[in-house]
């Protein structure tokens, strides 16, 4: 009786997943969000190096009279250019205090940024860009481990016999992760919200990405993350658009989250999103790479060079599309019909490069556990088929997975010793 019931449940689950898998999301809307963000510029004022102050027990960058003075300068610049000063955020890693200003309708943000850049107090100014995540979660379901593409393609169970990404800090710069999800609750080390004016509970994209990277293993629930031993830094820089499933971010929220990730010692930074090139974000990515952090980004085939930050030197660009991989010289990872965590404690099927990038971030966490002090990102080994050889990547060996005894723990363990 129980066997029959299990059979019907499995069949129902498979049908449900197939139905969801065929429901690929179309181009996300969120145009209203774009319009609001597109009418803003970022203005960078030079941030002096922090130094002694005679004010007793003086403190950090975000306070004090000098910061107020910079705000006064920003205020004056905004008035002189007919803009509205919204807020500011110090970025000491880049050496600037970043102010965000609203450009009146009918005025071009690009022109406003160009005019502001000519002011002698301004390091540079740029229009606020919009970034989109590269994947959409579908309705909740109850997936199983064996349905995870990486379970077979990357032999996750075998890999986890030698590494789980134990205590590797992975920054997920994304929408709000469901911190109460039973497959994620123990995995989140730090939570920070850098989004202004878009308060939200748990959101689909961030929760899905986090699950692919680090869902709890062996808890008899849902899925297994690629790096179940990793510790997540849940950094909300994106938000789900009110008028659809699209998840968007802007330059300042991303810069704040990146700055936090770098400052707090992330070892892997996952950016499952794309958009246009940006100088502020580029400087932060350069600092992350100089500190030996691994940055993984999704690739958008519709944008030139796969979009930014995937196109930035040193960033590992990942797609779920084998054809696009050849064109853009990026890496191919599982990103289609992937079961992962969903807000509210459930699971769902997801598609897109976002989740392919999340797989690679998890894999980088596994490799980092083996070599935590490396100054360079682990080298991704590829198969003739174009996919990633997860085993060879983790073991840092040029030998293909089939030749290095994946699935044979005794041999695997012997090879695993550096």
């Amino acid at each position: 009786m129980m066997r029959r019931l299990a059979h019907w449940l499995a069949l129902g689950l498979a049908l449900g997943l197939c139905a969801l898998g065929s429901a690929r999301a179309a181009e996300p809307p969120g145009r209203a969000v774009d319009a609001a963000v597109a009418q803003q510029v970022l203005v960078m004022l030079r941030l002096p190096s922090q130094h002694f102050s005679a004010e007793v027990y003086a403190d950090g960058y975000g306070s004090g009279g000098v910061r107020a003075a910079r705000r006064r300068v920003a205020d004056r610049l905004a008035r002189a250019h007919g803009l509205i000063l919204i807020s500011g955020w110090p970025m000491p890693l880049v050496g600037v205090d970043c102010f965000i200003m609203k450009v009146p309708t009918g005025q071009s943000p690009a022109d406003a940024a160009a005019a502001l850049s000519r002011e002698h107090e301004v390091e540079w100014s740029e229009p606020v860009q919009v970034y989109r995540t590269q994947g959409v979660a579908t309705a909740p379901n109850d997936p199983l481990y064996r349905l995870q593409p990486a379970a077979a393609a990357w032999r996750l169970a075998d890999l986890h016999q030698i590494v789980t990404g134990r205590n590797v800090r992975v920054a997920v710069v994304d929408s709000q992760i469901d911190a109460r999800h039973p497959d994620l609750a123990r995995q989140i080390q730090i939570r920070q919200d850098f989004v202004v004016d878009h308060p939200a509970g748990a959101e689909a994209h961030g929760t899905g990405v986090a699950g692919v990277i680090a869902a709890v293993a062996d808890n008899r629930l849902g899925i297994v993350g690629v790096a179940p031993g990793a510790r997540l830094m849940a950094l909300r820089a994106c938000w789900q658009a009110a008028d659809g499933p699209a998840t968007v971010c802007d330059t300042l929220s991303l810069a704040k989250a990146l700055h936090f990730a770098i400052d707090n010692g992330a070892q892997v930074i996952n950016l499952s999103l794309t958009g246009p090139p940006d100088l502020l974000l580029a400087k932060l990515l350069d600092i992350a790479e100089a500190r030996g952090m691994v940055v993984v980004s999704a690739l958008d085939p519709k944008l030139a060079h796969g979009g930014f930050p995937a196109s930035h030197p040193g960033v590992i660009a990942v797609t779920d599309d084998p054809v696009r991989r050849l064109e853009a010289g990026s890496y191919l990872a599982p990103g289609r019909d992937v079961p992962t965590t969903a807000p509210g404690g459930g699971w769902s099927l997801v598609n897109g490069s976002s989740f392919a990038a999340a797989h690679v971030s998890g894999l980088m966490a596994l490799a980092r556990e083996r070599n935590p002090r490396a100054h360079r990102p682990p080298t991704l080994a590829t198969l003739r088929s174009g996919g990633i050889d997860a085993c060879a990547t983790v073991l840092a060996t040029p030998i293909a997975c089939d030749d290095c005894a994946c699935g044979r723990p005794a041999n695997y363990a012997a090879m695993a010793r550096p």
Partner: protein, 214 residues
């Protein structure tokens, strides 16, 4: 140029109350040149109007000035060198003058800084003083910071302090709430051991301070 005015329930310098543990007003100026040169000055007065305390109400307590240079080391790190002057007259049971000029050098990484200071001929001619401190702050939310300070002061040469101890420590733990043009700080400040057994001017205190930035 930055200008700020502040009101504090007790103005403290390295654990020592400058205002006889009473409210005080301060005015501070600061300037940063793009070359890395910076300077600042401040004055401190008792806020007598808050608690009419006899003839010392509203009295001028002292001033400070500093001039320095800060250079970047990359990735948010910087080094720092300069001189500062502190001059205060404390009016307790008897008048105490706190007046010294010191040179300092330090390193700053993000919200963590460490400095070493050297003051010749202080507290008296022929006796020098060294001070070292670590300051830290942690922003745990957009407008909230935790702050911390640990300092150690040592007399170099001359006759020992009254209690015979060459070292004196001071510490501060606080929380700060930022507003667009203002800030409110609440801090616990203590120092030990003092030059006298539990002198009133260095007893631990919880201090509330508000600053407005022009």
């Amino acid at each position: 140029m930055g200008v700020s005015v502040g009101l504090t329930s007790d103005a403290r310098l390295r654990g020592l109350s400058l205002s006889d543990r009473r409210p005080a007003l301060n005015l501070n100026l600061s300037y940063d040149h793009p070359s890395g040169v910076y300077a600042g000055a401040g004055i401190l007065a008792r806020a007598g109007f808050l608690g009419a305390d006899g003839d010392s109400a509203g009295r001028f307590v002292g001033h400070n000035e500093y001039l320095g240079y800060s250079g970047p080391l990359g990735s948010g790190r910087s080094w720092d060198v300069g001189i500062s002057n502190q001059a205060y007259t404390l009016d307790y049971e008897r008048k105490i003058t706190v007046h010294y000029t010191e040179a300092y050098v330090g390193l700053v990484q993000g919200d963590l800084s460490a400095h070493v200071y050297f003051a010749p001929d202080y507290p008296r001619r022929g006796v020098n003083s060294a001070y070292a401190d670590i300051n830290a702050s942690h922003r745990f939310a957009d407008v909230w910071r935790l702050t911390g300070h640990l300092g150690a002061h040592e007399r170099l040469g001359g006759t020992p302090a009254r209690d015979g101890r060459p070292w004196r420590f001071d510490t501060q733990l606080g929380i700060a709430r930022e507003f667009t043009r203002a800030e409110v700080d609440l801090a616990w400040i203590a120092s030990a051991p003092g030059p006298l057994p539990h002198p009133p001017q260095s007893r631990p205190a919880v201090v509330l301070a508000a600053k407005y930035f022009f």
